[in-house]
Symmetry: C2
Subunit: 237 residues, 2 copies
Amino acid sequence: MTYCVAAAVAEGIVFASDSRTTAGVDDVAVFSKMHVFEMPGERVVIALSAGNLATSQSVMALLRSRDAQGVNAAATLFDVATLVGQTLREVMQRDAPSLESAKIDPGCDFIVGGQVNGETPRLFHVYAQGNFIEATPDTPYFQLGETKYGKPILERILTRDTTLDDAAKCLLVSFDATLRSDLSVGMPIDLLAYEKGCLRVTRRKRIAEGDEYFREMTRSWAGGLRQAFAGLSNVNW
Amino acid sequence: MTYCVAAAVAEGIVFASDSRTTAGVDDVAVFSKMHVFEMPGERVVIALSAGNLATSQSVMALLRSRDAQGVNAAATLFDVATLVGQTLREVMQRDAPSLESAKIDPGCDFIVGGQVNGETPRLFHVYAQGNFIEATPDTPYFQLGETKYGKPILERILTRDTTLDDAAKCLLVSFDATLRSDLSVGMPIDLLAYEKGCLRVTRRKRIAEGDEYFREMTRSWAGGLRQAFAGLSNVNW
């Protein structure tokens, strides 16, 4: 599977993605699912991908090869999302018939977010059909792939007013729950916090197996959960 | 959907099930998914069901009508699980062709546990095909239906040595996460803690919307989580 999540808060947007790809449990590999387009001072666009790797790679490769007329020319992040959707449809038109005749799902989804100079940061979910929705304060985050294990903590913590630091921690706690339960989601985790108005990438981190911060954070979280659990009253039968 | 979960610990077995059935979001009803067979001093058998309601009701009705030669005559809980599986196959043989021709899934799963005098408590998962597996100290719990939202807390807390009281609380915390995320899982929750060697039902509770204990427990849990979260260090970019 895959796990990608991004949250738009008042201070910016945080993105996180795993990097395990599987073609069956006997064929596991590492591919980053975080794609960064950066024109410092002008725009930052992050795309997270889930689904068919050949499709998502083709979409990203075509977007990069057309950078100057594409992602880097778009006037708004809405236009970037439209472009990702169009390029996805182009690749699907090329590849889907062959894959579907072999009963392979050609589809992939993207989370696309960032900021274009002149706009506020925005976050979109582009579906496999190329259409898309935008995050709002009511639902400030999007997930792709193995979404369920890591959702409860997002629902409890994330709001529009969550700080960028807290949003980053919250995504990592969500990853912790997911990594423990689904072997098809795997490290390293790519984590990026985009600060509103910055128009360049300043906080980015790859968290690999054995990362000291992540180990300490998950240990502290596990201890906190045990303490919260110990504080619950027994059932009044 | 449905959410059922049962955990076998050293002191006994705890069972919990929701009671929402849905035939589309515009057709919601309340049916208990917890079925209790009790011969005080002799045996206690609890079955939790998930899947096609007509199938699971037929299985339970047939088992009840044959009580004296069936559940109440079985020498072991293994024999009870076998009987549930056989009765399920009987109902499937009768109903599955008609349902499958209408593209309706006729299947249902059961969690079956309890104690027969002379044995230690045992817990089984009976699949829709009538075969079954038994819980062991390595994996002391089974879930049916909407399993993912509520799994992380089970994985963190439940072991063979968890007390019966803590296991009951753990199942309710697991329910809390599930109820918040999946509207097709609904109250009331049927909760039952079977104490090893008791051979009768002593702790059983139906938790309905607005239940004071459950409200206080979820409030305390939410506060504990926020506190645990507040204790995490920021990401070291």
